[in-house]
Amino acid sequence: MHNLTIDGVSKSFDGISALRDVSFSVDAGQKVALLGHNGAGKTTLMKAILGLQGADSGRIEVLGSAPGSARARASVAYLPENVAFHSALTGREQMRLYLRLRRQPARLADDLLDRVGLGPAAGRRIGTYSKGMRQKVGLAQALIGQPRLLILDEPTSGLDPVARRDFYAILDDLARGGASILLSSHALTEVEARTDRIVILSKGAVVADDTLIGLRAQAGLPTHIQVAARQGAADEVAQRLSAGRRNGVMVELTCTPEDKLARLGEITALGPLVRDLDVVPPSLDDIYEHFSRRAER
């Protein structure tokens, strides 16, 4: 059962096409990353999913209901990009408001703020918060109730590394509980490790939609293997593997994903000549670049 279905959605602003025939779906318990260049249409798509800005054509179904319907809104959480709360309210007061809007007891405000690490600042005005602290208020409100679908627009922007890790840990909890998560991001490395599937938008169109492993296979980008040879044996290792020598000890070779296991076999066959080895698969950066380049052509 899909928690979110997007089917052939298009949208244009005064003749400029922001979304072109976008289709994909998100299942319960799935974390999907929405990637794409600035102006690719990520925010536009999210607003269409929330029913804030209707699409021109196509169909969106949110938890079996229409986007923006009362039923959908009751179980969808949203974090807009660059959200700034009223500076005169304290973090606690702001959370109390959002709790009441979801018909939850207002006393949960402190627990939620604690969860994102804002406990000590709960009684201070948001105007005195740092950028990352303000972002955390946004995250905290997205955790209210038991949302079954979370739409998070660049949720980790402005967060420090520890806060990011904590944030993804919270998302893991939610996903384990059956929530679906769609998040956009420009921080590819964290998305790589923390999401189940990746959708890449380019100029409003979906150019890739797969797991990271699937995308790697589709892209067919070479894997790098770095072999550390025994002292003085670098030349022999390089010759026997017919690869290039990088320096006195390191030998570097590239291979297609299908050749990888065969090559590793060859390397282990060298026995004592090899001291260590590293396999460096194409990073999401490489894959992302591949798909965006291909879309441009």
Binding site: L50, A77, P80, E93, R96, R103, Q141
Partner: protein, 273 residues
């Protein structure tokens, strides 16, 4: 309902911390004090008690200050949320747009009620200190209080309308200052010019009274002056006051808050966050 109250609570706190509201409340209290002390002459000759005289001067003050406070708390209501990006978030919650605006409306009326309580309270306390007979004017003061709230509510609605039209706080602020100037200052001058130019013609007898009643600020002044015993004490403020039924003026200030709010709510529906 819990959503509406949530908004009312949050907005009340915001307005309470709004420096403008504090400044205008203090201004109002000071003016009220000065007006009361200045009016504490030989009132006995006019047969009016101290409080009634104070109410008459407060009416003139309220026409300027109440709309100003109302517009200053309300202009940010929609435009501010659009600019901060919280409107998209708010509307993603299970609330209606009508409920969002209604919550703010309740809070802003409440803050106005507090500000007026302080301002008028200072005046009343002083009047009672000066004149043991002041209790006779209590009825007029109570009337001034609730009609001021209606006047304020009208301008809060007008402020929301400006906020939805402008979409940006800075523009909305400029717009409400313009609205205040036009409705409170220029409108009367224009009417006056019309009456003078018309020289007792059809405009003066047929159109003018209705135009006066149509403006909530003028209707508010007419209602209070016509209904108060102190009309005589403030004679000459509005020559037309006697020719128009206070009931029609009352109808005008009672209808305005609803009309202005409904118009703002209708405009708000069209805003895409």
């Amino acid at each position: 309902m819990s959503g509406i109250l949530g908004f009312a609570d949050a907005e009340f706190r915001i307005a309470l911390r709004n420096r403008w509201v504090a400044i205008l409340t203090v201004t109002m209290a000071l003016f009220a004090l000065v007006l009361t002390l200045a009016g504490s002459g030989p009132t006995g000759t006019l047969g009016a008690d101290q409080l009634s005289v104070t109410v008459a001067s407060l009416t003139g003050l309220a026409v300027y200050l109440v709309p100003l406070i109302a517009l200053l708390v309300s202009f940010d209501a929609v435009a501010g949320e659009v600019e901060r990006g919280t409107l998209a978030l708010t509307l993603a919650y299970p609330v209606t747009r009508w409920g969002v605006l209604m919550g703010k409306f309740l809070a802003h009326i409440a803050i106005l009620a507090v500000a007026l309580l302080v301002g008028y309270g200072v005046a009343a306390a002083t009047a009672f200190g000066l004149d043991p007979d002041a209790a006779r004017g209590l009825e007029a003061l109570v009337r001034l209080y609730w009609s001021s709230l209606l006047l304020g509510a009208s301008f809060i609605g007008i402020g929301y309308l400006a906020s939805t039209v402008a979409r940006r706080p800075a523009t909305a602020a400029g717009l409400v200052i313009g609205v205040w100037l036009i409705l409170i200052v220029l409108y009367d001058l224009g009417l006056l010019a019309g009456v003078v130019a018309d020289d007792g013609g059809a405009f003066t007898t047929r159109v003018f009274p209705w135009m006066l009643i149509g403006n909530p600020a003028d209707a508010f002044r007419l209602f209070n002056l016509a209904a108060s015993d102190a009309t005589a004490a403030a004679a000459g403020v509005d020559g037309a006051a006697n020719s128009i039924m206070p009931l029609q003026a009352l109808a005008s200030i009672a209808i305005w808050p609803f009309a202005a709010f409904a118009l703002a709510a209708w405009r708000f529906r069209r805003i895409v966050p």
